[in-house]
């Protein structure tokens, strides 16, 4: 840190929130191992001391999908377990506090998309994440709410986990299983290919759980906030944002797409200390 014209300027700043990567890959490995172990246990073997659980049980969105059926009849949609409801509750609690931090820090599908995007950033440089025309992008951002409504409707009316046949998360950790529908594998493949060009395409345009959690951005307790008094208005925060949010034009980020990754903060890309921060209080 140096002091320049009365402002604290960081010269050697980290390019990324490294602890986030650690958490992301921890959960990726955690879910992968449990899913593999589940397959092994079903075939009569299994890894000692490692939990075995159906992947459906480890998906908080299962709780959202079954919520109507659970409230209406007291039973869960087939393949959904109580654990999904617990995870849904924890997910909501986290979202009230921190917004969709689940998306930015925990969701393995987000992690794998970011991994592929790393190659896109390397080879496409400034063109990366700027392929979709702005106006079209703004409209498409709401498509995930249509997906959310559709999933809830078809699940409620059929009492079956219809979304499983389209779910890239399920395909990611079960691609070796005959349970995975070709459509889900195709959607996973498309998502990964698009991730080379666009950051988190599934999260931005299609993820129903991201849509659900995104609503909490409107009233979350801890938010990304920008101090106008110290902001250099260099636009670094907006350029860095994986969800293309114009952070430098707002003082409080209430955008429904924010995933609380903190990549825009003074801890990462913002060169001025305590200018873009994650706080429950106010900034000047």
């Amino acid at each position: 840190m140096i002091k320049l014209f009365g402002k604290q300027i960081r010269i050697f700043r980290p390019r990324s929130i490294w602890i986030r990567k650690v958490v992301q890959w921890f959960f990726f490995a955690f879910i992968a191992l449990i899913s593999i172990n589940h397959t092994l246990v079903e075939s009569g073997s299994g890894i000692p001391f490692l939990a075995s659980a159906s992947l459906h049980a480890l998906c908080p969105f299962g709780g959202v999908e079954t919520l109507y059926t659970f409230l209406a009849s007291g039973v869960l949609v087939k393949k959904v377990h109580d654990a999904s409801l617990v995870l849904m509750g924890i997910g909501i609690f986290l979202a009230v506090l921190f917004g969709p931090a689940f998306c930015g820090w925990i969701c393995p599908l987000g992690t794998i998309q970011e991994f592929v995007s790393g190659f896109g950033k390397k080879y496409l440089r400034r063109r990366f994440n700027h392929f979709v025309p702005f106006k079209l992008d703004q409209v498409l951002r709401y498509a995930r709410y249509a997906v959310l409504v559709w999933v809830i409707y078809v699940t409620a009316t059929s009492s079956t986990l219809i979304f499983e046949a389209y779910d890239p998360y399920f395909a990611l950790f079960n691609f070796w299983s005959a349970e995975v529908a070709p459509t889900a594998l195709a959607i996973l493949g498309i998502t990964l290919v698009l991730s080379f060009f666009v950051e988190r395409p599934w999260c931005k345009y299609a993820c129903p759980y991201g849509a659900f959690l995104g609503v909490f951005n409107l009233f979350r307790i801890f938010s990304i906030k920008r101090a106008e008094s110290t902001c250099k208005a260099d636009g670094a925060c907006s350029i860095m944002c994986p969800m293309n949010i114009q952070v430098d034009t707002k003082t409080v980020i209430r955008d429904h797409q924010c995933i609380s990754c903190l990549e825009c903060t003074s801890e990462a890309i913002c060169p001025v200390a305590k200018t873009v921060i994650f706080t429950s209080g106010s900034v000047k």
């Binding site: 986030r20 159906s54 617990v86 995870l87 509750g89 986290l94 801890e267 994650f278």
Partner: protein, 257 residues
């Protein structure tokens, strides 16, 4: 309060795993099916397991634990002759009967268990559910089917050499000679497409060669959307499907003779 990335990481992990541990302590954290179907909550059968909640992940043993039916009976009904019947997983039925023209799977087990034990079952949801001949034989031998269930099994049994039997299925030459889809030793079904059922559409009639004019004459109106189910049309127009069906079937039989 301002938090940094390390604090946020710690909070996320603590809240997530703390929540899971707390729910586990409270007995809410279950990641596998308990293999116990939900129970009827009211009425004469309150407290008894509901066969409609039997799931594909169950084994015959799991079913036997919840209902008054043995794995051996289930194995006999569904033609499972190898291995331990109690360890047989229901979802394997769909693989075993993969070539059957009419699906035999978990739904068939639900239906069989309900009929075998005499427990309630919504037949409206079982329109596309069929039983192998062996299962029907066991049910008939047990002799506890009422008239409605007896009629149902008569129309929803896949018998060797013929399609799922239907009361109105005529023994036309086509029905007898259409190539059978060989599947397993348990099901050798013959596809018989010229019988009007609840799922038959007007488009089906036209494709079978029934003239549009004849259809319009019988329904007394212009041909509706051809993709519409005849049964739905009858309901919408307050016509009796059971009256309309034989009349249309007669036209089908005429063109197929």
């Amino acid at each position: 309060m301002t938090i940094n990335s390390k604090t946020l990481a710690a909070l996320l992990v603590i809240i997530l795993f703390g929540g899971i541990m707390a729910s586990s302590t409270l007995g809410w954290w279950t990641t596998e099916s308990t293999k116990e179907p939900v129970k009827f909550s009211e009425g004469e059968y309150a407290g008894q397991a509901n066969p409609a909640d039997i799931r594909g992940s169950y084994t015959f043993g799991d079913v036997a634990n919840a209902f008054d039916v043995t794995p051996a009976v289930l194995a006999q009904a569904f033609g499972i002759t190898e291995g331990d019947p109690a360890a047989f997983s229901l979802k394997e039925l769909e693989t075993i009967y993969a070539d059957s023209p009419l699906e035999i799977g978990t739904g068939s087990v639900r239906l069989f268990v309900a009929f075998y034990t005499g427990l309630p079952y919504d037949l409206a949801t079982a329109e596309e559910t069929y039983l192998p001949q062996a299962a029907t034989d066991i049910l008939l031998e047990k002799g506890n089917l009422d008239a409605e269930r007896l009629a149902f099994v008569e129309t929803h049994t896949i018998t060797p050499g013929m399609e799922a039997s239907t009361p109105e299925a005529p023994s036309t030459p086509e029905a007898a000679t259409t190539p059978a889809a060989e599947s397993t030793e348990h099901t050798t079904a013959t596809v018989e497409p010229y019988v009007i059922k609840g799922k038959t559409t007007f488009a089906d009639l036209l494709s079978w060669g029934v003239p549009q004019a004849e259809i319009e004459k019988l329904i007394g109106a212009a041909l509706p959307d051809p993709t519409m189910l005849i049964k739905d049309y009858a309901t919408a127009k307050s016509l009796d499907f059971e009256v309309l069906k034989p009349a249309l079937q007669a036209e089908v039989d005429k063109v197929k003779k």
